[in-house]
């Protein structure tokens, strides 16, 4: 089932006099439950693409269709509303809120969503923390965790609201290879058990190796789109 369609996406950045074309007419279809890596050299447009897919930014031209809904005409507020419901993020530098505990950080998307009661939010957060292997650390603050643990919390935070898509811009770039491996394995496991769609960018061949589909960008265009049969 297709959940996301990009048609002829172009993105121009104005840099003083010059304009940079970060994406040059990109077409892409993504199905539910994919585990997709976006790779390519620095400056090839990976972050730009993820921002557009994540409704954080709008393309200069082209259309984005989510679940059949066209995002083109949406106001910033509507985009934010859409993000709140369907999209989650994992960041390279974890970006946990330093003054909130692990449990509070994981609860945060639910708090923003304002759909559930207090007890329900807490129990979901605790379940999610257990799922990423951090049971017992609920009341710790981010500064009391290792980088790998922080990224696990970030994954729990991204998944707690059961999003349609999780977007991760270089989620393992700040981790050593052992921790990176663990994090990808965790993402993969969640992808398998919950059928959550993951789209992540990476420079790391090992991480790329876990993906079932790899899109290679070059100069804002798709150079290759390879699928692997499920292991």
């Amino acid at each position: 089932m297709t959940i996301l369609t990009l048609k002829a996406i172009r993105k121009l950045y104005q840099k003083g006099e010059r304009s940079v074309e970060a994406l040059r007419g990109l077409d892409l279809t993504i199905d539910k439950g994919e585990f997709l890596a976006i790779v390519g050299p620095s400056g090839s447009g990976k972050t730009t693409l993820l921002n557009i897919v994540g409704c954080l930014d709008t393309p200069t031209t082209g259309t984005v269709l989510y679940d059949g809904t066209e995002l083109h005409d949406m106001t910033e507020r509507e985009l934010s509303e859409y993000r709140k419901e369907k999209i989650s993020f994992i960041f390279q530098s974890y970006n946990l809120i330093p003054v909130l505990t692990v449990r509070e950080n994981v609860e945060l998307p639910l708090v923003i969503e304002k759909k559930l009661g207090k007890a329900e939010m807490a129990s979901r957060a605790v379940d999610m923390i257990r799922a990423v292997g951090l049971a017992g650390m609920e009341d710790r603050y981010p500064r009391e965790l290792s980088g790998g643990q922080e990224q696990r919390v970030a994954i729990a935070r991204a998944l707690v609201k059961n999003p349609l898509v999780v977007l991760a811009d270089e989620p393992t770039a700040n981790l050593d290879s052992k921790m990176a491996e663990e994090i990808v394995a965790l993402m993969q496991e969640i992808n398998r058990t919950r059928e959550t769609t993951f789209i992540f960018s990476t420079h790391d061949a090992m991480v790329q190796g876990h993906a079932r589909r790899v899109i290679t960008l070059h100069d804002g265009s798709i150079r290759s789109d390879e699928r692997k049969a499920a292991e």
Partner: protein, 416 residues
């Protein structure tokens, strides 16, 4: 509590030093304002007490006929049913004492010089219970036989070169318009904070006046003293109440409350209030700059955090609320501490007082005040300063808060 507000609170707590430093300006400003206001009020109150105790009294009663012609100090319109009026007054709420007085124009001379004066006829016993002149009098004061005794203002005494015990001549028109002159002995010299009294007041007793100007017990004025009230407004209200009761019960009488008696001074007070308002405005402006700065710093430190919150769908209004709340907490801390510190200093000023003469010698800058200056409790000022402080903090936080909310999400996330 809402998680967004929790974030705000914890950030304020995390940056304790910064919070305290920012709040301190506000604390100092508010405390200073409260203290100054208390001191001003105390100064004003001291001046009012002096006016009331030396010349004006709390309620002044004359007849309507007298009032129409009062500038001439006529001896034609006495208060008729003196006993009833006095009894009526003493029955009114918070009335402590009543004293009769009669004023007349006269000349005072030492055989060389002659000066125009205002004669004030008093009942020495009753007068003491309404006015505190005795506290400012040098000399023995009126004796039991006061027929030939006179008390005069210090400037007069100086000008005419007399001291207690010296003879002096007073001349005036009698009640029946005959010119009379008589020799008196100076029984006292009054030095007050009221220059008019010092320059022109001459006191003799009814006993003396009956003889000297054929007064025949004529009383042109009744002066009333009221229980002291902490709050000036309460005092004015009491005074108005008594004046109204008298005017209603005795239509021929003219009763002036302190609102009329002290009208000029009360108007001056209002003007001074606007000065202390200026002070709080300036100080809080400085505090506001501090808050803008601190909240702005807070925004810059947390640009990426703002990006994350927005990426997860938090609305702009909530981001604004978060930073507004931070500023508000700082304002609350500053204002609460300011009111506490202000209240402590007011407590000191009311209990211990501020020795004016010790600090300024005997010049009191034209204020009718000396000795120890006491502060006044003014809960209204404290409430006002508190609200003003918090409001300043909220308003000061608006600019940085909106700046945070206006950040582009993608830029905020890339920010290092």
């Amino acid at each position: 509590m809402n998680t967004i507000l929790t974030i705000a609170v914890r950030n304020v707590l995390r940056n304790k030093r910064r919070t305290v430093l920012t709040a301190i300006t506000m604390t100092a400003g508010i405390a200073f304002f409260i203290m100054l206001d208390s001191l001003f009020s105390g100064m004003d109150r001291g001046a009012i007490d002096n006016m009331v105790n030396l010349a004006l009294s709390s309620v002044k009663i004359t007849t309507r006929a007298y009032e129409a012609d009062h500038e001439a100090f006529p001896l034609d319109y006495g208060i008729n049913n003196l006993r009833d009026t006095e009894a009526f007054l003493l029955k009114q709420k918070r009335v402590k004492a009543v004293a009769p007085r009669t004023s007349f124009l006269a000349q005072l001379s030492n055989y060389e010089n002659s000066l125009p004066v205002l004669g004030i006829v008093v009942d020495p016993e009753k007068d003491k219970r309404v006015f505190t002149l005795a506290d400012y009098t040098k000399g023995p004061g009126f004796s039991s036989d006061s027929k030939r005794e006179i008390i005069l203002g210090s400037d007069l005494a100086k000008e005419l070169g007399v001291k207690p015990g010296d003879p002096i001549t007073l001349s005036a028109r009698s009640r029946f318009d005959a010119q009379n002159a008589d020799d008196f002995t100076v029984a006292g010299v009054v030095t007050t904070s009221d220059p008019t009294l010092n320059k022109s007041a001459v006191y003799i007793s009814f006993e003396a006046a009956n003889d000297f100007i054929d007064l025949g017990g004529l009383v042109t004025e009744l002066d009333v003293s009221l229980e002291r009230r902490t709050n000036l407004a309460d005092f004015v209200a009491d005074s108005r109440g008594v004046a109204l009761a008298v005017s209603t019960a005795f239509p021929e009488l003219y009763a002036q409350s302190f609102r009329e008696l002290g009208a000029g001074f009360l108007a001056l007070l209002k003007q001074k209030r606007s000065w202390s308002l200026m002070i709080i405005l300036i100080v809080l402006l400085i505090a506001a700059v501090g808050i803008v700065n601190t909240v702005l710093m807070s925004v810059y430190e947390r640009i990426r955090e703002v990006g994350v919150l927005r990426a997860f769908g938090l609305e702009k209004a909530e981001i604004v609320r978060m930073f507004l709340f931070e500023g508000t907490i700082i304002g609350l801390v500053g204002s609460i501490l300011g009111v506490i510190l202000g209240a402590l200093s007011v407590w000191y000023l009311t209990a211990v007082g501020y020795p004016v003469d010790k600090f300024f010698g005997n010049i009191s800058g034209g204020m009718p005040i000396w000795g120890t200056l006491y502060g006044e409790w003014n809960p209204g000022t404290m409430a006002f300063a508190f609200c003003f402080g918090v409001a300043t903090a909220v308003i000061a936080s608006i600019v940085p808060a909106r700046k945070a909310a206006g950040l582009e999400v993608t830029n905020a996330l890339r920010f290092v």
